[in-house]
């Protein structure tokens, strides 16, 4: 009688109190995520931005905590621009290739596969994500090596000429697949493809079958239905998937150290400016490049309704 009844009114009072004050309720509910987002996340970004306005003494290389634009001026050298272009170019290529590969599979999963097959396919897409990223990248290094599996098949099939032509191509070629930009591209696509398949699949699932039947009833050929009904409704999924593949490629700095010709990517450049050179201001300034690129990218894909499919 004493304990339970005295606690009950207290709880009641709190709940009544909160019920009357919806703003306070909201504040309490959001306090933790807000502290996290604004404090931890936003705060570190602000400190990063501040860092970028410091500079290194040009002679001694010692960090000077003086506000100046020197660091930002040194950011846009030809070498750094090349790093940015290379990274953005790779992210774009990987995204386009992922859409081309992911769409048919997602379409099949959403439209034709029975429940059993669909479950197996979803599992097949997800299983690689359960194994270590590093293990998968190292395996690809062996697959693509000059003495690797692909070369072995190419030799058996008598296609050395085609491979040599590919590797002889400027920019994307190299001594072997694993030491070429093309090989790097293959690995990027392999690693990030699942993140494209799943959102496209989700958006295609939402296309009602009745719409397609209606389109057919009205005399549209399948290709026309695809163009006018299926594709527009899949665009949010494609845009959402592209956010993943684009931003993940943009920020990755492991694959370029293991596969490819060692040409630096944005992540690697930041890593070595921060780590090896101790040039924190330049590393901080460089960190804003992917943020800026992603801001532009998100603004564009928002128009395609990407956020509705997330």
């Amino acid at each position: 009688m004493t304990d339970a009844s005295s606690r009950q009114p207290a709880l009641h009072r709190i709940s009544t109190y909160l019920h009357k004050r919806p703003r306070l309720r909201l504040l309490l509910l959001l306090a933790l995520p807000v502290v996290w987002l604004v404090g931890v996340y936003g705060g570190s970004l602000v400190s990063l931005l501040l860092q970028s306005f410091f500079r290194l003494n040009p002679f001694s290389g010692v960090l000077e905590r003086v506000i100046s634009l020197d660091t930002w001026r040194t950011l846009f050298t030809a070498a750094n621009n090349a790093v940015i272009m290379r990274t953005v170019g790779m992210a774009t290529a990987v995204t386009v290739a992922s859409v081309i590969l992911a769409f048919p599979l997602a379409y099949y999963m959403a439209r034709y596969a029975g429940p059993r097959v669909k479950a197996i396919l979803v599992l097949a897409v997800l299983v690689p994500l359960w194994s270590s990223y590093l293990v998968r990248v190292y395996s690809w290094k062996l697959i693509l090596a000059a003495d690797g599996i692909i070369n072995w098949f190419v030799e058996r099939l008598g296609l050395e000429g085609a491979l040599q032509a590919l590797l002889g191509a400027p920019v994307i070629g190299g001594p072997s697949l694993s030491i070429s930009l093309f090989g790097q591209f293959l690995v990027f696509v392999y690693i990030w493809l699942p993140y494209m398949i799943l959102p496209i699949h989700a958006s295609l699932e939402r296309v009602p079958r009745s719409l397609l039947e209606a389109s057919a009833d009205l005399g549209a050929r399948p290709a026309f239905t695809f163009r006018k009904v299926t594709w527009p409704m899949a665009i949010p999924g494609v845009a959402a998937g592209s956010i993943f593949t684009f931003s993940l490629t943009l920020g990755d700095y492991i694959i370029p150290t293991i596969i490819g010709d060692s040409s630096p990517f944005i992540g690697l450049a930041i890593y070595s400016y921060q780590g090896v050179a101790g040039n924190l201001p330049l590393a901080a300034a460089f960190s804003f490049i992917p943020i800026a690129v992603m801001a532009v990218y998100l603004t564009v894909v928002r128009r395609f309704g990407a956020f509705e499919a997330l």
């Binding site: 290194l56 290389g61 070498a79 072997s176 030491i179 060692s262 780590g275 090896v276 040039n279």
Partner: protein, 394 residues
């Protein structure tokens, strides 16, 4: 109240730290004896440098030390020299750091490490004489640590490619040439991806272009530096991939047909052990190398245990085991004799006989390591930026 006390302490600590670096010529700072152990010692070290038999029971140089001294060893591994500098700066929790030559002078200049009284380290005289006063841990005659281990950046090559004409010059990785197997070296050589590799190019230029007047490859004036970068840009055309991780390079020697590259004896030893046709040589131009020093932190919380560890780190058994484990050359020559893990030829395999041809890593500074006016030499942070640009094809 409490926060004010903390603030006061912090200010005091800063003043003391400031004084410490300012009046470092004060001899009375040095301890005169090693007292009772504090029960633990915390060491910032490279991965695999402080082994307690957890990876392989045969490689254990910690357990005995702990039993003998009561100092429990705690290791904080660091991946790069810069991580070490960052960890040690202003630290009050670490006692020792196994710093390489590209960070040791920075640690001394930054006041993060303190002078060591070598009188308190009985084994000091057993250290290789060429290392005792090495300039990467000795400043103005003061020692800032005990030499721990060193290794060389040798030229590794594929014996099937070179046949009975093994390379004797770094030219095979810097200049386009036809190798003895009749094919060009383009796409079949590698180079190290750290900016300190610019010194390797300078070392080659020192021999091939004496007009440049390069004396020390770590102290380059603007002209010498630009010449080295030019050579490295030329090398970029030949290099398929730059190496960074020893195991990736081992894989590249095995599966990518790499014909020649700068490498560590560690890789060539592993490759030879696996039966691959790989050998190594110190070319006529000499080679660069790295030498690590166990340095004592300025604010070491356990100085007595730290001194005990420095003494322990020089015992021949540990030095020999470490050399076997890491493919390095011991700092104590006596370690080469009768070590089971290292074997009779271990030191020679790891390159001990080439010691005199090695120029060890130092941090390039703008005052040419104290020998010239500030601004005379190109400082290290520019090496990083420019080497990154070279690898990026610029």
């Amino acid at each position: 109240m409490k926060s004010r006390a903390v603030l006061l302490l912090a200010v005091l600590a800063m003043i003391v730290a400031g004084c410490g670096s300012g009046t470092s010529d004060d001899e009375s700072d040095l301890p005169t004896e090693v007292g009772e152990g504090e029960g633990s010692v915390v060491i910032v070290a490279w991965a695999g440098y402080i082994e307690r038999g957890e990876t392989d029971p045969a490689y254990d140089w910690v357990t005995d030390f702990e039993a003998d001294t009561g100092c429990m060893v705690e290791v904080k591994t660091a991946g790069t020299s810069d991580e070490m500098v960052a960890l040690m700066t202003g630290s009050t929790e670490y006692d020792l750091v196994t710093a390489s030559g590209d960070s040791s002078l920075r640690l001394i200049a930054g006041g993060s490490v303190q002078e060591v009284n070598i009188e308190l380290i009985p084994s000091w005289d057993t250290i290789d004489e060429r290392l005792q006063n090495a300039e990467w841990h000795t400043v103005d005659g003061k020692h800032y640590g005990t030499p721990y281990s060193s290794g060389f950046n040798v030229l590794g090559y594929n014996t099937e490619v070179f046949g009975d004409a093994p390379p004797d010059s770094w030219s095979v990785v810097f200049e386009e040439t036809v190798l003895p197997d009749g094919q060009s070296n383009a796409g079949r050589v590698q180079a190290y991806d750290g900016p300190i590799y610019i010194a390797d190019a300078a070392l080659y230029l020192k021999a091939t272009q004496p007009d440049l007047g390069i004396e020390d490859p770590y102290q380059l004036n603007e002209d010498q530096y630009q010449a080295a970068l030019e050579l490295l840009r030329q090398q970029r055309e030949l290099v398929g991939r730059y190496w960074h991780d020893a195991f990736i390079q081992i894989d590249d020697f095995t599966n990518e047909g790499v014909a020649a590259s700068s490498t560590w004896p560690f890789q060539t030893n592993v490759l030879q052990f696996a039966g691959e046709p790989i050998d190594k040589v110190v070319p006529v131009e000499g080679a660069t190398g790295w030498a690590d020093t166990t340095m004592l932190a300025t604010n070491a919380p356990h100085p007595n245990c730290a001194y005990m560890w420095m003494e322990h780190s020089l015992n021949p058994k540990l030095q020999g085991d470490l050399a076997a484990w890491f493919g390095t050359v011991p700092a104590v020559p006596a370690a080469c004799e009768g070590n089971e893990l290292l074997g009779p030829d271990g030191c020679a395999n790891n390159g001990a006989e080439d010691f005199d041809e090695i120029l060890f890593w130092k941090t390039p500074t703008d005052d040419c390591n104290g020998t010239a006016e500030p601004g005379s030499c190109v400082p290290y942070y520019r090496w990083t930026t420019d080497y990154l640009a070279v690898i990026g094809g610029r």
